[in-house]
Symmetry: D2
Subunit: 346 residues, 4 copies
């Protein structure tokens, strides 16, 4: 499957994983043969809440749910919104701890802000780890460093559980629309196939990235290249405009030449060049400065840890960090790098 | 025409200027009504020689030629190769100076290494300028700074001559194949239309970039963005590989995600990712380190002159400059940035 | 005292803390009035071992010792070397855990490689924390991030213990010679005064840096500025030499002008400029590339955490990281940045 | 003398060239034996005017003067101010061209803004060059690129004239006070000695830098190192302050440690740290952003031309360029880098 996946990659622009004929059969683990009865979800924040909602809507006829979040208001709201079937008052349960989630559910998704939260939820007091077994499939959608992701996977594998890392791109918009891209690290193709039916309820593209931890690698690599390209495009558009070129004309030339990139073609940071870009709507919405700064911090630290030189990556990190520290920019889309460059030269 | 050109830009990927029904009619200048009798070409170096050859082959039935180069061996070779028509021994002439070119030809192309050579050929002793008039159409294909390009155009316009700047991309390969891209700065659409039939014999894409000087702006903008993107792609591929990812798999993911750029999709710097890339053939051929360093110098100095901040552009300039200074890299394609990054960490 | 310390700073170049008339009286803590009976030391690595030796030699007539290191060979060697008094066979004891150190000693020094080791020794199983009380004075000489340093201090203060952070500069040479500089963070002047007599046995300069955690801040700030200045000096010397200047003459000019810095005056990276520099002896010994890379990582991450922009700091981090990843440079002094710059342009 | 100069350099902080016993004897050129009758000065701008004034005051008893500037108001004002001796109405003359200066004066100083002005004044129509001979001593105090400086010297030597390059540091304040530092490039020690008596009227330190052109090299090297150090000091002070340290305390620690540099010790960019710094008086006066940006442009282009890598130099150039482009910063001292860094993070 992995081989065929690679083969297909040159043909299709957006590689949606093949829908299995009967995805639910994937739920019968070889070791037990039992059917999933309950799906667990830990972490219902800005991203996790819409993801959990989509997962619930996709599987509510086949399984019950158990959820956990440190914020009890979030979980009680979810309960109120989704426990609506009069014949099945217990469709959704709120757990008192991650441990309880692992005790009741055999398929578990976690979506947490950073490495230290993942460590706490998995290995802390009353953590998931205490009840995991060979009956469990666990998918961590958090964006964390590779070393924590592989540590989680290793610990779970020692208990016989299936584990994948599956960080996402697509933002809160993609989470709500169910169109996220999942970048999946999995030591075995079988685990990847088992996870897919669940991820497909929350996302559109389920991309295989190699062994456990490589989902995280793919994500920070892509976002580092994106972060650099956006500043490079901003510098270039700003230079051209200040030298007297029409921005639309310049963008058109770049986009048919060797300078083109996603940031120049699809998401041009110069206002007015594209009708539906963040730039044209005042840099509202989109992918915020602090998020790009966070991903670049992961990338640069991973580079230092692996003795890899990333001059431009480090420079981009500083520039997003600078904008994230400025109250006029911290809430803007990351393409406001153009605004920063053009307005500082006043 | 310019408006319609812009309108089309969203539909076609490679915008080849429309072939005029009878391009040669473009040669009848309003002011004189005379037909072109002789085409001049100054600067027959690595790029200029194949360009002049293509231009000759395209127009030899309609016009004679006069050429000039500081290197007399080059011009006498050209003479030997092309003055082969027994009925017209004088098809090609070698001029003693640029001035003589301007005295005999009304359509002139110049292709010179840098600003100081342009200054000498146009304004120096026995320069073109001495004989230019309203009968002349002059196309400068050199890559020089915008200020020199506009100075040339202004001086020519004052004499009534038509002048465009038309730097190229595509390298010596494109020059030989006649598939160069010309980025054209022209104050009037009429001049652009007059120049096109000639440029089309030497190139495939004739791109309108705005007023005089903007051909140069477009070129250095594109090449700055390209130069940064190539290093960014190299850093990213190297990081992913050192973190354990398969390079083809990583490239596939980037190229279907927001990190994609020309350097990752078409010209990936990691050997083996693409069959026909410079990287896969040992970084031979292609666009050399000193050329990229030269273009980035033009870009960064233009930025300083216009008070534009180009952090990543300046960093990229230093990195190409560093490689161009190393005898193991100076003759390699600019995508050897990947080799530099991966081999320095030995 | 702090005020007078600051007042003195403009007068003396090297500010050695005033020797107390009878330092040992400092050991009588107000709360107990008891005299120190035993001094503890945790972490006897390359730096810790010579520091512990100097501390032992300075206090062996007044106190007994208890030591702990994860490497048992180190502690048994220390025991063999120092338990030589036939009348006091128990002068030095080896503890089975940090906890035992805290149970037996009231003055404790820790010297550990990084934040995670500090966390383990203080808060892990059988850690120091289990036995700390208002009778303890604890000095952590490790170089770690500010947040861990303040977390340690806060936890110790809650138990009533005195706590200071006191990272060092001076390297293994300074550790052996007892000439280290300690940069001390302490919430109270009293604790600073209590700690001084011990630190003075291991170092020459005991510098007050403000509240707990600020010892760490001072160290990474100094080393970031040093790391940038060394590369800047290397770039400058290399540029001058390549433009034809005599390196000694250039260094002499810089050092009497506004470009001078410690790296140009005291530790010039160009071989031959100074007789006793690391550069002149082939960049052997000194402060290694990985150490500078580690300190810059702390600095850049601290900058990101506090939303501070450090463009040059981030660039310097990448450059030391690049050299630390190269087997020809990883074991050289950090001033080999000059060698890197001059030899890459071959 | 040069050797002894170098020997002395380790002893004295400010190396003032030894006063010759009778400097005026230096004026008797071997070839003619004639005494200087007239001193010429070309370029009476912000720097040149006070320099010419000091030179006039120092030599008015021994020589007459002839001056030239493109701005006639400047020269007529100088005439009015200095032609006050009723017995010698012709003490100062205003020349109609640089040529006339060379025709009348045998000792000439030029002080011009940039390379192109030097080219014009020396080699242009009615330039100095037309009348230079073996009787002339010419000192160019302009800050220009090395290649122009050596071109000027070579051309003058071919005519038998003595030529030195002598760019200055010290600003308009130093020009008025006569305390400038001259960095002198001279092919022979004899020419250096001839020039010294004149330079000593305008400056305090006359520093020998090697052969012709090396005065320029020394200046851009020093200013590149200074420019980087100032930003590095600003980043460091800002980081420490944002992490909670008292700025005076931090500066005191840096200045007794390996991080110290002229920018931290003498000209600290953090307001309030030093009583008389530009920072403390609101960054007024001092060395402006555009001047530092200009010198860094010369340095970075020299680096590119000599294939020297200057990563930090290029980054510093961009940062000063960015501030010089901002109307709130363009008129501030270059140490306002601290203000930029601290205020952008609002």
């Amino acid at each position: 499957m992995i081989a065929s996946f690679l083969a297909r990659s040159s043909q299709s622009k957006t590689r949606v994983a093949t829908k299995l004929a009967s995805p639910i059969t994937g739920l019968r683990f070889k070791s037990t043969g039992s059917k999933v009865k309950r799906i667990g979800f830990v972490g219902l924040g800005n991203m996790g809440l819409p993801m959990a909602t989509n997962l619930f809507n996709g599987f509510k006829d086949k399984a019950d749910f158990i959820i956990y979040d440190i914020n009890q208001k979030t979980t009680s709201n979810f309960l109120k919104d989704h426990n609506t079937d009069p014949n099945n008052k217990d469709k959704v349960k709120v757990a008192k701890s991650p441990l309880e989630v692992a005790q009741e559910a055999t398929v578990i998704v976690t979506m947490l802000p950073a490495s230290q939260h993942v460590e706490g939820v998995y290995f802390g007091k009353d953590g998931l780890f205490g009840a995991l077994s060979e009956n469990h499939l666990v998918m961590d959608a958090s964006t964390i460093d590779q070393s924590m992701a592989t540590r989680v996977a290793k610990a779970l594998h020692e208990k016989g559980a299936k584990a994948i890392d599956a960080p996402v791109s697509g933002g809160t918009g993609g989470a709500q629309a169910g169109t996220l891209t999942f970048m999946v690290g999995s030591n075995t193709n079988a685990d990847f196939e088992l996870a897919k039916p669940y991820l497909e309820k929350m996302g559109k593209n389920i991309v295989y990235c190699g062994t456990n931890g490589n989902g995280q690698v793919a994500k920070i690599c892509n976002n580092m290249l994106l972060g650099i390209s956006m500043i490079a495009t901003s510098e270039t558009m700003n230079l051209g405009v200040r030298m007297g070129m029409d921005p639309k004309l310049l963008a058109g030339i770049l986009n048919t030449s060797s300078g083109r990139c996603w940031s120049s073609e699809v998401y041009n940071p110069c206002p007015g060049v594209q009708e539906n870009s963040a730039a044209t709507r005042g840099y509202t919405g989109g992918f915020g400065m602090p998020l790009m700064a966070k991903d670049l911090r992961l990338a640069v630290n991973a580079a230092v840890d692996t003795k890899t030189t990333v001059m431009l990556g480090a420079m981009a990190q500083q520039l997003y960090n600078q904008m994230a520290a400025n109250k006029d920019y911290e809430n803007l889309d990351f393409s406001a790098a153009y605004k920063w460059l053009s307005e500082n030269a006043k």
